[in-house]
């Protein structure tokens, strides 16, 4: 978002304190983002209702016309965010849109340049693989030979989305 030149970002998230791992994502964004952050806090009871996520997002965008970027905290809100962009018309097109996680609709949106980027949480690289490494180290004192561990693109943009789609199929 910093690189895109956004000044005021709306973060679609859950109320702080409701879901801890979402809080970590939200706080991480607020810490790293250089501009102003406003939160659209979706009640947990509405988190599965994309239509309401959309309307609450649009409400916040209506309230503050200076918002020039929207960041979704997870896959929950990508469809809603995409619809909000469509509903906003020209303003939507001029804004920046990003998300954590990726869905089939999200990939399509990146392809269409509706979505600027997605941060792909790589369950294998971030969850399973480190455990394997640590277990090997503890049991056999084996350490990875290379200092870095190359994985697929973690930031998905219109430039590399085709590679991701080729690798994963449509979902």
């Amino acid at each position: 978002m910093n690189a895109l030149g956004a000044k005021h970002a709306l973060v679609i998230t859950t109320p702080i304190g409701a879901i801890p791992f979402v809080d970590a994502r939200t706080n991480g964004f607020r810490k790293a983002f250089k501009g102003t952050s406003t939160l659209a806090e979706i009640p947990v009871s509405d988190l599965n209702s994309s239509n309401r996520i959309k309307t609450i997002t649009e409400t916040q965008l209506q309230k503050d016309q200076s918002i020039d970027a929207v960041f979704s905290i997870g896959s929950c809100c990508i469809a809603a965010m995409d619809q909000a962009r469509t509903d906003l018309g020209d303003r939507g097109k001029s804004m920046h849109w990003g998300t954590i996680d990726l869905t089939a609709g999200g990939m399509q949106a990146i392809k269409n340049h509706d979505l600027d980027f997605a941060l792909d949480a790589q369950q294998y690289a971030q969850g399973y693989y480190p455990v394997v490494m640590l277990a090997l180290y503890v049991r056999q004192a084996v350490r990875p030979a290379a200092a870095s561990y190359p994985t697929g693109p973690a930031v998905i943009t219109p430039d590399n989305v085709a590679r991701v789609q080729a690798a994963t199929g449509s979902r």
Partner: protein, 349 residues
Amino acid sequence: MSASLTSPAGGQDGSRPSLSLRTFLMRPEFTAVVGTIVVFAFFAIFTGSAGFLTVAMTRNYLEVAAEIGIIAAPITLLLVAGEFDLSVGSMVAASEVIISYLTVDAGWSLPAALGAAVVAAAAVGTINGYLVVRTKLPSFIITLAMLFIVRGAAQGVLRMLTGTSTIDGVREAVGAAPSALLFSSTVGPLSISVVWWIAITLLAAWVLDGRVFGNWIYATGGNQAAAVRTGIPVNRVKILLYVAVAVSTTLVAVLDLYAINQGSANAATGREFEVVTAAVIGGALLTGGYGSPIGTLFGALLFGMVDQGFFFTPLPDVWFMTFLGLMLLLAVFINNYTRMQALKPRGRS
């Protein structure tokens, strides 16, 4: 003020205004209509400048209200007949899964997929109704069980089929089929769900107050033993209403699919309580025999306004649920109070 001015002129027929006032207060819609006006005024005055009154935001809260109201109208009839249905939210999700899978992954046309969803929903509704009338167990429990069964099945089946919990891209898969216009069009600046909502409400109101079947519904919920003795097919009334409720969930599912272009096995979580809330704000009694689809329409409208209007207030979003709860409690208190006041002079026990 106006009362003191008119009473001398009223003279001997001074009882008339109080009678008509009571008639008005006794209408089940009373609280919902007044509540809707109060809530609208509240948000218009305090958040109008923030954008609550704009066309886009009006469309949004009407859409939220419509997705509640379309199910709440048949639910009102079911409540009048003295039964509950807690499985509606999960049926919305199941219908979304069926329609989105069949159109996106199996390549069916929209009418065929919709037809399959209606058949499935009607089957669940029939089972609900049949179990309730055969076992005579509280419908609260039966349909609560059905909620879990259907929700779990929607999630489980979709995961078996695709490994995900959502399906994107129904609009692209269906394309510009003429039948899609029924669910994706706009009417002026508003979405077509509002038209469905009003049409279904009017249909429910017409059935309840204009048809013999409506009398059967009142009788079934008002005094079932008497209804049975007068030859009303109580069981058939209930099963039919369960089917009507189930089919209405399919309509909401397809409207929601088009509104957001995504089918979700977790859609409409908690919708079962929202529709009952709308009906109760609209004047329906949970004990049966009393209720109004028109009142329910206003109940759903009130719910939609609060659901969206809150986010215009400067209050932190995290207080939303508390605010919603207080609003509902207040509405039900007023509802109860006015009904008691209105009924008291007639000595009804």
